[in-house]
């Protein structure tokens, strides 16, 4: 089959698809999933994961309010913030929150014995995957961007005019933008991984731990293997490098740096590939609650 035939077939297929219906179905799914995932007491643990650093910084602000607020202190706090974002948010907070949110999207419905309702409506299972993924991503991004913004505000607001100057006239705002972008991409990337794991395994906790190990040791593997890790794409987006030494350095090492543009593109490609796998997996899924 020639390339022209393929393109013609793809165009025909695209024209036959009820895209408007898919769009409205996704918006309904997102609305219902966000309500189920965001506004529930079960999610208190995830709120904590997102907001604990802000609470720690708030404590720091309260107890160290009499410390001098010069440029050196701003520089030190910038390093602390970089550590919080790179070592806590990207490595732990977003990772575990995405594990909780995205594995629950389908597996949770299996446990609650409600997934059959989703499978008995005229919705393509691929649309279901996309709708749930978007909902999970919105929830994760909303929580962690809020946490990041709170950290950033608390970190620099105590410096008064020097802090404002650092944020609005210095590199502060750019750093914030990079962190927000990287956090959003982390939610998307980890989210896709955990969504796929929940469709592959009945108990995605163990594979989740394996993924965490992989994300940690990936820098010591060949560059093609590193491209299969989410953190590989996040590191180039971090605006402040952490001068860590010893075992902790493995968290920050950039074995083969890529440009931020390629990092974003690469992570999006990885996410799409994992979502395609999820669409394949969801077709194999059967409602067998008794075996859960």
């Amino acid at each position: 089959m020639s390339a022209q035939d393929l393109v013609a077939r793809a165009q025909k297929w695209s024209k036959e698809q009820p895209w408007r219906l898919y769009g409205s179905q996704i918006s309904v799914l997102v609305r219902n999933e966000v309500r189920r995932n965001l506004f529930t007491r079960r999610r208190i643990g995830i709120y904590l994961l997102a907001l604990v650093p802000a609470l720690i910084i708030l404590t720091h602000v309260i107890f160290d309010r009499n410390q001098p607020a010069g440029p050196a202190q701003i520089e030190e706090d910038t390093q602390i913030l970089a550590g919080i974002v790179q070592l806590y948010y990207f490595r732990l907070g977003i990772f575990f929150a995405c594990m909780a949110i995205f594995t629950w999207l389908f597996r949770g419905e299996m446990v609650e014995r409600t997934l059959h309702y989703q499978f008995l409506v005229p919705v393509r299972r691929e649309v279901l995957v996309v709708g749930k993924f978007i909902a999970g991503t919105l929830v994760a991004i909303a929580l962690f961007e809020t946490g990041l913004l709170a950290c950033f505000y608390l970190m620099y607001s105590r410096f008064g005019s020097a802090g404002r100057s650092y944020v609005f006239e210095g590199p502060g705002l750019g750093q914030l933008g990079s962190y927000l972008l990287a956090a959003a991409l982390a939610c998307i990337g980890y989210g896709a991984v955990f969504l796929a794991l929940s469709l592959l395994f009945k108990n995605p906790i163990v594979p989740g731990v394996v993924i965490m190990g992989w994300e940690t040791i990936a820098p010591i593997f060949p560059s093609w293997a590193q491209r299969l890790s989410v953190t590989f794409y996040l590191k180039p987006l971090c605006p402040v490098s952490l001068p860590l030494t010893g075992p902790l350095a493995i968290f920050t090492v950039v074995a083969e740096p890529v440009s931020p543009f390629l990092a974003v593109l690469g992570l999006l490609c990885l996410t799409i590939a994992i979502l395609v796998l999820s669409c394949f997996l969801i077709h194999r899924m059967e409602i067998t609650y008794t075996t859960e």
Partner: protein, 316 residues
Amino acid sequence: MTPEARQIVFENVSKFYGEVLGVNKVSFSLDPGITSLVGPNGSGKTTLMNLLTGLIKPSRGAIYVLGLTPHQPIEFFRQVGFCTQFDSFPPGTNGHDFIYWPLRLHGFGHDQAAKLTNEALERAGMAEVARRKVAGYSKGMRQRIRLAQAIAHHPSVLVLDEPLNGLDPMARSESIALFQAIAKQGMHVIISSHILEEVDRISDRVVLMSSGYVVAEGQIREVRKEVQDHPMQILVRCSNAPRLAAAAFELDHVVEAKILNDGRGVLVRTRDAEQFYLLLNKIVSGGLVEVDAVAPADDDVNSIYQYLIGSDGGPA
């Protein structure tokens, strides 16, 4: 429209859960009307319904519903409504939302979805409690709200897994009337039950299942005749058991009359219980025998299964 496009067709369908048999080599086709899947617990009724609606996939064979398969979900689920046996609901939902949001997924706009929701709630007799949380519903109400969801989009094929479970007599009779009304509109209504008598009077045809196999299938009249031919066991506790046994043996329809070990009663197997009861009345009124108790020994559905399909009706 071709006959296949109006039928539900099972073509040599088998389903195995690993080593465990769900259903095996099931082949039949159903015309519109009320069809009952009847069999003991574990006979494969729910498996067959789950296969029909695509909740599980056949290990072998193919299933067509009005010429469609669950691989075409948009067209398929506009035609099919399934009221499952799973007594679980999305957390925090109320009766109205439980029906309204799936209708939005069908592609209905707000007004149309709200109209269909109210209509379904009315038909299921749930309009007054629609805004209450489903978690606070009784079992019968939960059953009816699931039924309301299954019929809300006016499907051509309504699949109901044990739909009368948990319903009080009034709700049962209303539900049965609803099924009959839907079937009269030329639709398929497929009902599963482990109680043959429950669906006997409303079914156009019956599919009898046992241990994953379809053991009988056809018009309800044929099955009913077989059931009537089934010798019924009647236990009579009485004085002068040999006299009663001798009198019973004189009747053509009595196939066995066994005196109990304690000598204080007779176990009779008869093809015509009515006639035997008449004889018993005559003997009692003649003062020949003093009767302490009379009870059908096997007047339950399991004995009918035992007769029809060679199973005791216990879990397979």
